[in-house]
């Protein structure tokens, strides 16, 4: 199905250069937006750019999934495909062959993450205009969209690169623009400034730890290329330098991915950033950092190393469990709905890490499936949230009372995503939690299965409080009349809500993506 993109839709230059263009297009357009006079025009341009990136991501996914027949047909037509072998695209930047030059390397795992980031980025761009127009000063709107596209390009770059140092550069590109975007929430709530500063300090520490770790690996191996690490590291397992590098990288990326207890920057940053920024970040930023973590755990290092197995059992799994319980509890006691959702995000990162820490194909694909589903449901929840901020200017639980009657379309979509977050059958969340339960049972971690169920019960409580206020309480403010979020916002919101229902009914598409991704990474360096 998706291969018809290659044979019918995409021109030859797009197939040959999809990998760099996916990142370069938003980066170039972002700088060009400085010269664009109007915010509305900048908005339209950013939709087109993120849409183009989505198109390139689809091409890459098609290339990764293409069978030998399709690839042979492409080669016969004289089209450069950059296939290293079946399922792996390798693009040499500047024509310098890896491992000397920087390599963009796409396998099933990257292709999935790139599709997720560009899909969410496109939807978020479409819905952004009403809320950006309301929350950002007119003369800054074009620069705001510029910063957004830089962030988008950085996240895509992290997900696409096959070079450990290049990953650091893209991580910083996305992070620095994120700090700016979060701080722009100061127009609505001054607490955005300390939140952004806090995020800046924590994020910089995370990036520094990561780059120190890469430095250790470079000292031990003399290379920065991830595929090269896979080949060189097995001889150096007992090396202290490599082990120290591993520890630094896990902590650094863990901080970026909001791994408990390194998540302290997240709730405030999500709560006080402009609504559009929260929507985009919640669905992409921690996901991309988690991708980088998985990439290092399974491609660069390998579960075959004793120190990594130990860190799965004694570090990542316990921290994942702690996140699922502690942050779900914290979510229950928040009065601001955005903070509830933010704490719930940290708890959901715990689910994904639990799947990853099983270090089996089943576990990792369960974690990846949850990663994808969580992007869809949190994206939807924060989009509905943005609609409420736009029309009612309130974010506390009291402001949500009775909204089910005054904004039924917005809140129905919110409810669908909330049910998906809880994991009610027939929604996306159910599919991934069920798979996670099966994976933990298969591994014999019955206690982890118990925690998953317990944490889901907590999710029933914290989302239930919001849903109860929305649908069963009388409005606090009787002047509230029926006032729906604008149509521009409702359409992407419902796309996400329906995607949640669709995955709940038939999870084969995301399941195959996650499964292929897990097999691609574990097949490379793992024991299975």
């Amino acid at each position: 199905m998706i291969e018809s993109i290659l044979t019918h839709l995409a021109p030859a230059w797009a197939i040959a250069h999809a990998a760099p263009l996916l990142v370069v297009a938003p980066l170039v357009v972002a700088t060009a937006l400085v010269f664009v006079p109007s915010g509305r025009l900048a908005w339209l341009i950013s939709i087109l750019t993120t849409g183009a990136s989505l198109f390139f991501a689809l091409i890459l996914l098609a290339l990764v999934q293409a069978d030998t027949v399709t690839l042979a047909a492409l080669a016969d037509a004289g089209i450069q495909t950059n296939m290293l072998r079946e399922g792996v695209v390798s693009y040499a930047i500047g024509g310098w062959a890896p491992p000397v030059g920087i390599e963009f390397r796409i396998d099933a795992l990257n292709a999935m993450i790139l599709l997720l980031v560009t899909f969410i980025g496109t939807l978020a761009s479409v819905f952004s205009w009403p809320t950006v127009n309301a929350e950002i000063r007119t003369e800054k709107q074009n620069l705001f969209y510029g910063a957004y596209l830089v962030c988008f390009a950085g996240l895509a770059g992290v997900a696409i690169t096959g070079d450990a140092f290049n990953l650091f550069v893209f991580l910083e590109i996305s992070s620095i623009s994120t700090y700016v975007l979060v701080a722009l929430g100061a127009g609505r709530d001054r607490r955005a400034l300390p939140a952004a500063f806090n995020y800046l300090v924590m994020g910089t520490i995370g990036a520094t730890f990561y780059v120190i770790g890469v430095g250790f690996l470079f000292a031990a191996t003399g290379t920065l290329n991830m595929a090269d690490y896979t080949a060189l590291l097995p001889e150096l397992v007992g090396n202290r330098t490599v082990q120290a590098g591993f520890a630094f990288i896990i902590i650094g990326l863990g901080l970026k991915a909001a791994m408990w207890p390194l998540h302290q920057w997240l709730p405030n940053a999500y709560a006080y950033a402009p609504s559009f920024v929260t929507t985009f970040l919640a669905a992409t930023a921690t996901k991309v950092a988690l991708y980088a973590l998985i990439r290092f755990l399974f491609t660069v290092f390998s579960p075959a190393y004793t120190f990594e197995t130990a860190s799965f059992d004694w570090l990542i799994a316990p921290l994942a469990i702690a996140a699922m319980v502690a942050c779900s509890f914290q979510a229950v006691f928040q009065t601001d709905v955005r903070r509830t959702l933010a704490y719930s995000s940290v708890a959901q990162v715990g689910y994904m890490l639990l799947g990853v820490s099983l270090a089996s194909v089943f576990g990792v694909s369960a974690g990846l499936l949850h990663l994808m589903n969580h992007a869809l449901m949190k994206g939807g929840l924060f989009m509905a949230m943005a609609g409420i901020v736009l029309t009612y200017q309130g974010t506390t639980l009291r402001d949500f009372a009775g909204l089910g009657r005054s904004a039924p379309w917005t809140m129905t979509a919110f409810a669908i995503c909330a049910l998906s977050l809880i994991g009610v059958p027939l929604t996306a969340g159910f599919q991934s939690k069920l798979m996670l339960l099966q994976a933990t049972f298969t591994a014999g971690w019955w206690w982890a299965s118990g925690v998953i169920v317990f944490s889901s019960v907590l999710a029933v409580i914290y989302m239930g409080r919001i849903l109860e206020a929305v649908f069963f309480k009388a409005p606090e403010n009787p002047r509230k009349v029926r006032k729906e979020a604008p149509l521009l916002l409702l359409i992407p919101l419902w796309v996400l809500a329906l995607a949640n229902l669709w995955i709940g009914l038939d999870a084969s598409f995301p399941y195959d993506l996650a499964r292929n991704a897990a097999e691609a990474v574990i097949g490379v360096g793992g024991q299975q």
Binding site: P20, V24, V28, V34, G94, G95
Partner: protein, 150 residues
């Protein structure tokens, strides 16, 4: 205050600033075969302007180079850099493959030369523009609470 209070500073700065700017371009154009390059040149160039702002006041520096110009300069630098990469795509090479820039026969190195010079120029614009933008952001910052309100 006596207007001639800083006369030595002003006279010295007036002689130094052209030299600093000239030195920036020296570092820039020798960057492709000696230590230095766009980043250092951009910093040195921006330092010349910042020295001017420190000695003669931010307002006259703002008249000389307005913030909208520095922002545009930084963006234009990135555009130039990335644009060279896209130019290489049109030449049939990979992204940023300088050898493909000029469509020259095998063994030609002018593409490499042009490519690195243009890219370093992009870095010069980007760094100088960002340095000055950051400086203006701090120097031109107006306290949100006036001193009497404390």
């Amino acid at each position: 205050m006596n207007p001639d209070h800083h006369v030595i500073l002003r006279v010295v700065a007036k002689t130094l600033i052209p030299l600093i700017t000239l030195y920036a371009f020296y570092v820039q154009f020798h960057g492709d075969y000696s230590p230095g390059g766009g980043f250092q040149a951009g910093v040195i160039f921006a330092v010349g302007i910042i020295l001017y702002a420190l000695i003669f006041g931010v307002s006259s520096a703002l008249r000389l180079i307005p913030p909208s110009f520095t922002r545009g300069l930084a963006a234009a630098g990135v555009l130039l850099y990335a644009g060279v990469g896209i130019w290489a795509l049109f030449g049939g090479g990979n992204y940023l493959e300088y050898g493909a820039l000029l469509d020259e026969p095998e063994g030609g190195h002018h593409g490499q030369h042009i490519g690195i010079i243009l890219i370093e120029l992009g870095v010069l614009f980007g760094v100088a523009g960002s340095m000055l933008t950051i400086f203006y952001a701090f120097a031109g910052r107006v306290a949100e609470i006036s001193d009497e309100d404390w």
